[in-house]
């Protein structure tokens, strides 16, 4: 409405120091000790499975931040201009998270602790006693060099885009004008096409190939939905916690409402894809497909199979259904924490039956690894966040975001 009146201090920088920094470092230390404990006590496969889970989880959250950023640029969205620095910080962590994920995958392959269903001696040799015709048929795709090449190329390309898009935003801060914004739109559009085609393959590789005999074409979208929901929850939680600590005063309840709607909608989307995969397998009832749910229906996993659906579908749909719930900061915060835990369980249910199976556990290794990676992610993300102003000061839609009202 034409009035450019606000009294926010946009030059204020976020300082990453004091308690949050100490807690992050403590969490990282706990993580290192837990992984060390896991290797020391001989639970090699279980430790590797947990490393893969958390490395994949934080890489997904970072990639979701980049995806969020790209969507905002392509849609030329105004509402999010006041909070895009948070997904930008996520995107800046993507290269580090990618390196960790690649290292875990390579380590798992090298030690034969992960992916041994398709990467082992003699699986593709017809004269070997270990010969497996199904794996031999997939060997031209599922072999170590090609697997690692794909992973490096995909994550490398995402990392380049995260670097470029955040660079444009930094240039915009210095120069102003629409130049950076226009370039961001083009690069984001290209990124979304690449990302859309490659994330399913990324999920097939890192997670689905743990059970290499089984396959599901829905698996890529299922993983994408999990990635997107957990990324949105992480973004929202960061926004809320920053706001609670006195930053981001320009974020009002309408911004939270929009983020809440995103979380609500994509929790339902996650359920939709989860169920689409389940129903097709249930209905067709082909043994080579049902084996996936058969394993998860064993007494070892059955309670968690249901808990997964309760946390990730029933809780968000019931808690976040009303408008007021999405606008109340504390309600939204608890739902975000719940869903972040819920999607840890979701990844746990994807990874563990195909690796440790009935030797699964929930103890020092699981909790410690999760804490360690969460601490590492928060540490890196907040370090990146403290490098730039919390608001892209020359963002063309910033004024719209400050007056955002729905």
């Amino acid at each position: 409405m034409g009035n450019h009146s606000h009294n926010h201090n946009f030059s204020e920088l976020f300082k990453f120091s004091g308690k949050p920094r100490v807690w992050c470092l403590v969490a990282i230390l706990i993580g290192i000790i837990s992984v060390g404990y896991g290797f020391f006590t001989g639970d090699m496969e279980r430790t590797f499975a947990n490393l893969l889970l958390m490395a994949y989880y934080i890489t997904c959250v970072c990639a979701a931040g980049l995806f969020f950023l790209a969507i905002q640029y392509v849609a030329q969205a105004g509402w999010s201009a006041g909070l895009v620095r948070i997904p930008q910080a996520f995107a800046r962590v993507l290269p580090v998270a990618s390196v960790i994920l690649i290292a875990v995958c390579a380590g798992g392959l090298y030690t034969h602790e992960l992916y041994h269903h398709w990467h082992a001696e003699g699986l593709t040799d017809p004269n070997s006693p270990h010969y497996d015709a199904v794996i031999a048929g997939k060997a031209s795709f599922l072999n170590m060099p090609f697997f690692l090449t794909r992973l490096v190329v995909f994550l490398g390309v995402y990392s380049i885009f995260s670097f470029v898009l955040t660079k444009f935003s930094a240039n915009e801060d210095m120069e102003g004008g629409l130049n950076s914004y226009r370039k961001s739109i083009t690069w984001s559009a290209v990124f979304l096409v690449i990302f859309g085609f490659t994330t399913p393959i990324w999920a097939f590789d890192t997670i689905m190939s743990l059970e290499a005999h089984w396959f599901s074409t829905m698996f890529g979208w299922y993983n994408f939905a999990a990635m997107w929901v957990s990324g949105l929850c992480a973004i929202t939680l960061t926004v809320i916690l920053l706001k609670k600590s006195g930053h981001l005063p320009w974020i009002n309840e309408s911004h939270l409402h929009d983020l809440g709607k995103f979380i609500f909608a994509f929790s339902i989307f996650w359920t939709y894809v989860w169920f689409a995969q389940f129903l097709l397998i249930y209905y067709a009832n082909i043994p080579e497909e049902t084996v996936y749910f058969y394993k998860r229906w064993e007494p070892e996993y059955l309670p968690w199979f249901w808990v997964n659906i309760v946390i990730n579908f029933i809780c968000p749909i019931l808690i976040l259904m009303t408008r007021d719930a999405k606008r109340r900061m504390n309600t939204l915060m608890y739902v975000c924490i719940l869903l972040l835990c819920g999607h840890w369980l979701d990844y746990y249910m994807m990874i563990m039956p195909g690796t440790v199976a009935e030797h699964r556990g929930f103890g020092i290794i699981e909790i410690g690894t999760a804490l360690g990676f969460a601490g590492l992610f928060v540490f890196l993300m907040l370090s990146q966040l403290s490098k730039k102003a919390l608001v892209p000061i020359h963002h063309p839609f910033l004024e719209e975001s400050l007056h955002h009202q729905i």
């Binding site: 409405m1 169920f275 129903l279 209905y283």
Partner: protein
């Protein structure tokens, strides 16, 4: 002037309109309604309009669809004509879910369209109720019930000082009964 039913203040600028609303409210003149050619943020709060109950209607329509679908399939596939499909039991609940989901969406969307038509008196063959046609084009209009607010001169003055380009005195509520 005594036949005047509604006073319509025409504005060309939404800021003037908001200013006009403030002026009228400061003088205890009740506003019947406001018509604008585009959405204006914050106007509902300013006019004190209650939250729409449409979400509640949507939920009721949706849950009706879910229950209808369940009962329909349950009657067809379990009670009336059980068929052996792939060796599954007749009451194979996962199979029901897609249909229940779709009928929820269908009932919800049709119900919402119906509610919208009902609430706005829009039916096929019926002229829509419009108090002033220019509100669909380029004018921002405040409508005031003249029976409740008899001081026409004062209203006229308030509207014009707030920036109204035109003040109309309508002897009938809607211009488009024809």
């Amino acid at each position: 002037m005594s036949n005047t039913k509604y006073i319509l203040g025409h504005f060309e600028d939404p800021d003037d309109l908001m200013h006009g609303i403030e002026q009228l409210q400061a003088n205890d003149i009740s506003i019947y309604d406001v018509f604008t050619p585009m959405p204006i943020h914050g106007i509902e709060a300013k006019l004190g309009i209650k939250r729409s109950r449409l979400p509640i209607a949507a939920f009721c329509f949706g849950i009706t669809g879910t229950i209808t679908a369940f009962l329909m399939i349950f009657y067809m596939l379990v009670l009336d004509w059980p068929i052996d499909i792939g060796g599954k039991p007749a009451f194979a609940f996962p199979d029901f879910i897609p249909v229940m989901f779709e009928l929820t969406v269908l009932f919800c969307s049709f119900g919402m369209v119906g509610t919208f038509f009902f609430a706005n008196h829009l039916f096929p063959g019926r002229a829509p109720r419009v108090m002033d046609l220019s509100a669909t084009d380029d004018r921002f209009i405040i409508a005031i019930d003249a029976k409740k607010n008899p001081h026409l001169d004062k209203i006229d003055h308030l509207l014009k000082t707030a920036g109204a380009v035109e003040v109309k005195y309508n002897e009938r509520k809607y211009v488009s009964y024809e």
